[in-house]
Amino acid sequence: MKTTAPLQIINLLKTITFLFFGLLILWGLINYLMLRQVYLHWLLLLFNLLVSAGLGWWFYKGNYHTTFSYDEEGFEIERGDSRLSARWRDYSWVSLVHLGLGEFAVRLYKDGGDFLQIPASSLKLDPLEFRFRVMEFVKGQERGPDLGASSPRR
């Protein structure tokens, strides 16, 4: 099985930044309520940064970090604490979805219209190539009814 689990640096930085400013505001509020003034020092900011980085990493690992493994038979996707494994033949249709800002995902549809999304760009996979590869995996299996009968829901 091929496995990819790249560090999603944007999500990690967003989490750390959010926590850094959140903790700073919380510190300011507590100071003001207790002392009627806000105490700030560069050592305090450094400490806040370290705490934010630690908490941010923990939050990122639990919510954003994605590990994706696949071969010709099936795949396994793990995002944060949730994990899903499935076979390509469980799906009938494949699409490429533009999520905005140049980010793409590959969507796998079941006959009933339910779908699963693989965040190809976040996983540092070439979305176009990966889409065609997944199509071959799915096409190698039995096809479902055509779109006229059941179109994938958008």
Binding site: V94, S95, L96, H98, G102, R107, L147, G148, S151, R154
Partner: protein
């Protein structure tokens, strides 16, 4: 240029390039049967872009939000598959409540004179048709507004 290469460029143009000025095309299917007809590519979108904060708010108050699509198939210089394709598109549009759609027919050689005349005469407002001859880089579009718009988009990367 091969058909597949052209369709990849068309897909990229609609999803991330100039096509976004017409609609927010977000999802693309390849080798997809619709009714009794198989299309090489189908790209779905909506007329309201997603945007962020202010642009999202303005598009929400100003722009209508209905689904649109671009269908594409290839290797039909005499347009023998045009009629069943238009029927399949009409059924799909009715089912998805889609006001208009594009149909792009790509060929690695010239289209017959009759085929070009047929498309040029077509003034259906709901379906814009464009014939793309990859050998001569010639684009023939139907004369409706939607058709002329598709003709301009298809020309951008000939």
């Amino acid at each position: 240029m091969k058909v597949r290469e052209y369709l990849l460029k068309l897909e990229d143009n609609l999803m991330t390039g100039g096509g976004r000025w017409v609609a927010d095309f977000t999802e693309s299917f390849w080798e997809l049967p619709v009714g009794d007809t198989a299309f090489d590519m189908l790209i779905l979108g909506r007329t309201r872009p997603r945007g962020f904060l202010l642009s999202r708010f303005f598009s929400w108050i100003v722009l209508p939000n209905y689904p649109v699509a671009c269908f594409a198939y290839s290797d039909d210089p005499d347009l023998k598959r045009l009629s069943p394709s238009l029927k399949a598109i009409a059924e799909y549009r009715a089912k998805e409540e889609m006001p208009w759609a594009w149909l792009v027919i790509v060929n690695e050689g010239a289209f017959s004179r009759r085929a070009k005349a047929l498309v040029e005469r077509n003034d259906t407002k709901e379906i814009g048709i464009a014939l793309v001859d990859l050998a001569s880089q010639e684009i023939t579009a139907s004369k409706s507004y939607i058709g002329r718009r598709m003709g301009r988009i298809a020309k951008r990367f000939k």
